[in-house]
Subunit: 255 residues, 2 copies
């Protein structure tokens, strides 16, 4: 399924034992009620608390057409199944989460592991006065930003690197090497958009990259400092973590 959500009210994508207020949790509750047995949902990007998605991909598995199916599901199966699931789930979802489409995929499809490319956009409202209409989707940053300097620095951050400096440590000792294909910096009226295209992103990575580029924008760091920060493999060298509200998962691409 492809879905969109406004992350403002949620503790992020991933189900947690401490809270039921996650996107994954909401979807699993509804699909479980529909199926009559426990349904697990796997998402392509595990967005953090407050982060939005314009295009998130997630998969789940139904147990086929057996007798174990609930009455609800049996009623649904008489019709076009993906369309029926779309309508059923949207009917019960809160209005800040919406399925855009549902389609059948091969059994071995995995939303996250099969994804070849993810696109995130970080939006900055850069003006003297805050904006009422985009305030939930942007980070309000009124200081002057040197866009050309940020673009030069962005080039230095692309490629295949160990991005340990741009990641909040978790206990897991997995590889912190990723590839960023492109960082585009666009100015659209009073808004500056940082568009990241890569094969995957570490925990907090897009937000720390943006925080670092903002330091370049206000002149506290230089484009030539990027190499050193990457090589340091130390979180303290990079800029600060900017708020989740400015970040949106824009697309997930498969081969």
């Amino acid at each position: 399924m492809i879905l969109q959500y406004e992350g403002t009210r949620y503790q992020g994508w991933q189900k947690q034992t401490s809270t039921q207020n996650t996107i994954q949790g909401k979807l699993e509750d509804i699909l479980t009620r529909m199926a009559g047995y426990s349904v697990e949902v796997h998402g392509a990007g595990r967005t953090d608390a407050g982060v939005h998605a314009l295009f998130q991909v997630a998969d789940f598995q139904l147990k086929g057409h057996s007798n174990r199916c609930s009455e609800t599901l049996k009623d649904i199966e008489k019709k076009d199944l993906p369309r029926a699931i779309l309508n059923y789930v949207n009917q019960y979802l809160p209005e800040d989460i919406r399925l855009s489409s549902v389609e059948e995929v091969p059994e071995r499809f995995h939303s996250r592991l099969n994804a070849k490319e993810k696109i995130y956009c970080y939006r900055i409202h850069n003006a003297l006065v805050a904006d009422v209409f985009t305030r939930r989707y942007t980070y309000y940053f009124p200081q002057y930003l040197n866009i050309e300097a940020m673009r030069e620095a962005a080039v230095q951050l692309c490629g295949t690197h160990d991005y340990q400096s741009f990641c909040t440590k978790k206990k897991l000792k997995k590889s912190t090497v990723r590839t960023i294909y492109d960082i585009e910096i666009k100015k659209v009226s009073n808004e500056i958009q940082f568009i990241y295209r890569g094969n995957g992103f570490l925990y907090h990575m897009v937000r720390i990259l943006t925080g670092t580029l903002l330091q370049v924008g206000i002149g506290k760091l230089k484009a030539t400092d990027m190499q050193e920060i990457l090589e340091a493999k130390s979180r303290e060298k990079a800029g600060e973590l900017v708020p989740g509200c400015g970040l949106t998962l824009v697309e997930v691409r498969y081969s």
Copy 2:
């Protein structure tokens, strides 16, 4: 002052005895606190409950540089006064109301009476699935709409007419003649925008005009019916009142 607001949480622009939750009320509270005496605010457009403004104009009068001014105002006056008022008011406004600019005007300036033209935009989200990100600013209307038919009808509704059929009656027996210069209907991706430009609009007028055009869009009324509805001068002949959330005051023009 020029200001913008998201109307979702408010009972409209106009101060009411029954509720303090109005845009005018919020502004008067803050300006009164600033000045140290009661300040009245007059707006160009009296937007209804739930209606937004991207560009609303409002005026107020301060009592000059006398001793009666409060300490706060005296501190403010030492600096650039309009800029200082902008910052003071924005500091106390809730985040869904923002002043964009403040400037001094001649004493006889009247935001509403001096306005030559107002532009309102009614936004429809026209797709199979509702939209998460524009849901607060659009009316979700999934049915197919014939845009060409609506454009033909819109032409019939422009000009100088008695718009009594397109107005919810209030007790006041004022003229219901207005001039609509132009109704533009734009399709932008899944959104249909109705942009009304006129010298003024009656109570609920833009929303009833839109409700009537939607009836044309779904084939229940024809473009040629518009003349008859205008001539009937009867509210029952026109389409229904569409929700306030889809409406935004976009601009107010002065000569």
